[in-house]
Symmetry: C2
Subunit: 174 residues, 2 copies
């Protein structure tokens, strides 16, 4: 995640994806919407070969790719590069730390062009649920009023970056 600028505190984050700039906010979720079953979803599995810069391999349903996210002085760009199933299955064995599995629901927000990406994490992160919303403009990001079922804004909390989660060490034993 390439943080280029922020206005205020915990407002939103700006990422550059190739030529495309992403402006996003992220929230904790404690209560799932009751009508969740009616929305489309993707089954996502991902692991990190490197976290700085990020070199991530991801399976999303039957699509496989490697994502590079340049950092700071190196490059601000993000690339999604296609992999075959075979090369994905080979590269995921080289991932460091935790493999992250999650079910990502896509929930449009009525009356807007916005879509909530609702990530329901599997073990070892369950019952963690995160919602991410991408905006067209900084004004839109700042004006966003989260739905009532959203928990706190963790946009700038690195603990909830998936790359940080991949490095999380879980206590063993009973």
């Amino acid at each position: 995640m390439i943080q280029l600028s922020t206005v205020g505190v915990k407002e939103y984050v700006i990422k550059l994806t190739g030529e495309h700039m992403e402006i996003e906010r992220k929230f904790l979720i404690y209560k799932l919407p009751e009508d969740l079953g009616k929305y489309p979803f993707h089954i996502i599995e991902q692991g990190y070969l490197s976290t700085e810069p990020v070199v991530r391999v991801r399976r999303s349903d039957d699509d496989y790719y490697m994502t590079y996210k340049g950092k700071g002085f190196l490059s601000r760009e993000e690339y999604n590069l296609p992999l075959t199933k075979e090369s994905y299955e080979h590269l995921i064995t080289k991932a460091e730390g935790n493999i992250i599995s999650k079910k990502r629901y896509l929930i449009p927000i009525e009356g807007t062009s916005l879509t909530i990406e609702l990530d329901i994490f599997d073990k070892p992160f369950a019952p963690l649920v995160l919602a991410e919303v991408e905006f067209e403009t900084e004004e839109e990001a700042m004006a966003f009023i989260p739905p009532a079922w959203f928990g706190e804004d963790v946009t700038h909390d690195t603990e909830y970056h998936n790359s940080t989660m991949s490095r999380k060490v879980f206590g063993g034993g009973e």
Copy 2:
């Protein structure tokens, strides 16, 4: 290496690098030029995390990067993505097969805008030496008359692709 088309046999190879198309020929070298010491060179080390698509990490002097070369239906593009020294040293430990080390001399061909990339391989590939020449146009590639010290044209010999060399198994024992 993305072979898009060939004219004739063993003539040249065309690669796409981002928006840039490369047209190259490759030759075996048995006798080094006597004035080699006067040309600039790079110390290159590289390894492959995947060979289809190619995911290569390379050190060239004090520059570090990861190269992705899409293949066939997936993507015809090639990307060079910067790494830090630390991430390179981490990722090279994940490489499969042989780590390739070589000294690459850059030798301009007098009276032309062409440059010979002369790769002198270290163990376990020594005494292998390969020369590669890149051209602006297909016509130029076809018209190229190799210097007298060039050996046979191996442009289309996959044995001399570095990715193939990374997978080469060397016999053990005496």
